[in-house]
Symmetry: C2
Subunit: 346 residues, 2 copies
Amino acid sequence: MTKPPPASSNGTEQGSSANRPPTLTDVAREAKVSSATVSRFLNNPGVVAEETGARIRAAIELTGYIPNALAGDLASSKSRMVAVLIPHLEHSLFNDMIERMVGEMTASGNNVMIGLTGTSRDRTDSLVRAALARRVDAIISTGPASEAVDSMVARSRTLFIQVWELPEEPVGIAIGFSHEDAGRDIARFLASRGYQRPHLVTADSPRAQARKQGFFTEWQALGHAPPSESIVDMPTRFGHARRVFADIRRMDERPDVVVCGSDHLAQGLIVEAQAAGLRVPDDLGVLGFGNNAISGEMRPTITSVDVDGARIAREVMAAIARHQEGKDFLSRKIDVGFRLIARESV
Amino acid sequence: MTKPPPASSNGTEQGSSANRPPTLTDVAREAKVSSATVSRFLNNPGVVAEETGARIRAAIELTGYIPNALAGDLASSKSRMVAVLIPHLEHSLFNDMIERMVGEMTASGNNVMIGLTGTSRDRTDSLVRAALARRVDAIISTGPASEAVDSMVARSRTLFIQVWELPEEPVGIAIGFSHEDAGRDIARFLASRGYQRPHLVTADSPRAQARKQGFFTEWQALGHAPPSESIVDMPTRFGHARRVFADIRRMDERPDVVVCGSDHLAQGLIVEAQAAGLRVPDDLGVLGFGNNAISGEMRPTITSVDVDGARIAREVMAAIARHQEGKDFLSRKIDVGFRLIARESV
DNA sequence: CTGAAAGCGCTTACAG
DNA sequence: CTGAAAGCGCTTACAG
């Protein structure tokens, strides 16, 4: 590697519209070849003669040329961009998985556009629109898709990938698991541990509702009375624990275990319970969801439901790779399952 | 609003390279106007006659047209894209601030490209290169800039904004505060509270080192012996607490307060201390950094250093707006300061 | 292995 | 208020 050219920015230059950045043509002129050859060298070096390549390399170095991906993508009608839509940066169940995916995408030469949808459907629609406007190769979404999204995506060549969901009829493809089954498994697990009065903390999201549904159904099928419940806003964060714990303390029939929608909230409940002098799990069990890194690091460690983020990331990458090669996807729904991990808190 | 056109995606269509998405020309033909007029309608509706506009609107609706931003940006040589470079998604000190910025940018019509730099400088360089290749209007970086970045940015028209940093000679502009001063203030504060033996937990990052430096200098200037120290990997996360606490327990002269590089780590230390039967702050004080939402929600609440993320986001937005209007920036360095917030943990 | 030329889908002076 | 035409900076058959 050669030393980079001397930094010439010293205050006044930055932001001034002085001389435009060098183009492919500038490089070609400098290297005394056609711009087509420079383009070939950039995209497929092997096809260019050794010494021609050397001249071009030198010209690039000299001019400080950085290809204009806007023009390149337009001409080749592909973008090597992927959009990722998540609800929040903070307190997100998906961060581990997303971070892994972003890392792999970057490594495989894709740029990642991240959109924060919040909880508003409108914002999701407009982010999908923005992604399609940039002709991204794929959109990865952690949320449900609206009809508007469906129709926009259908007319495009963009691959739409839903993760952590497994809808009946995905817009594009879906990689996830059954939240209802997860709810059922949790119910069976708690019953097997001898718990009698679970308290559910659910957010008003389709996924949380599906888990709750599964839990209710199974719990009652096992011959128990319906569990009590607290409703919280999305995202299901640490800070909600105070109110939820207060809810519990007010009840006549005290719950013996709290089922949380995230490990962050579970962590908060443990903190609240301990601050009130309760022992976890002896006086109160606490169950998380998502198997965030903290769940193995908390005192006590948190029993949680693990979803294989690495597997999801792999499946997403594979689907995108196939799509970029122009192949059709292999299956529309991939069930990656989940796994209840018993630790100390239950 | 009209109902969206019926969703026509049912499995086979998605991903097939069937009919290409509609272009401006298709809309123009449908509306019986020139493509220039459609373009005007899209970018500056006021300039088009009422009924012409209506026809165009109908044509857009009918065709399901979504503008190709690649072509638009290339032709107009502006992108309305901003790149944001952060080290991690999870356990980041910046998430609150970044989330706020992303929200505001999206609202003001900018798309956001997020890059995860990790701790590698190479990865930062290549992400900057990718951002420049897409001709983003601005790059917002939470890390230090290398010489390579400096020279790439200098040749471009992209505004480079460093946040949470205040280097001598910023590449573009910097919006931050003095980490060394923060370290000094923490030292003075702990001294005023009567602490005698602080233990510092520092990561091997320039920022953490600057704070440590400030702390050391001030602490010794106040007539104390140098504090003890633990080194941790970046990011300064919850999970590091176990080892750090073990470090402390092994010491002959037990520290009476731990100074953490993040609120997450502080939270972890409180959990560890309590699990070991210590009371915080009576037996051990714990101080965080960054004033994350959790610091006010933990038991005990965490004394921390607040950096005004909303202010930074505002300054960033203002700088980008000026830059997009072609104006020069007002100042190269903006010191937003910081504020020590005393809570229960110290 | 290399070049000339058309084309990707927009925007924007320039006329009218 | 609208249209014809040049141009943004690349890529990619098509020739040679």
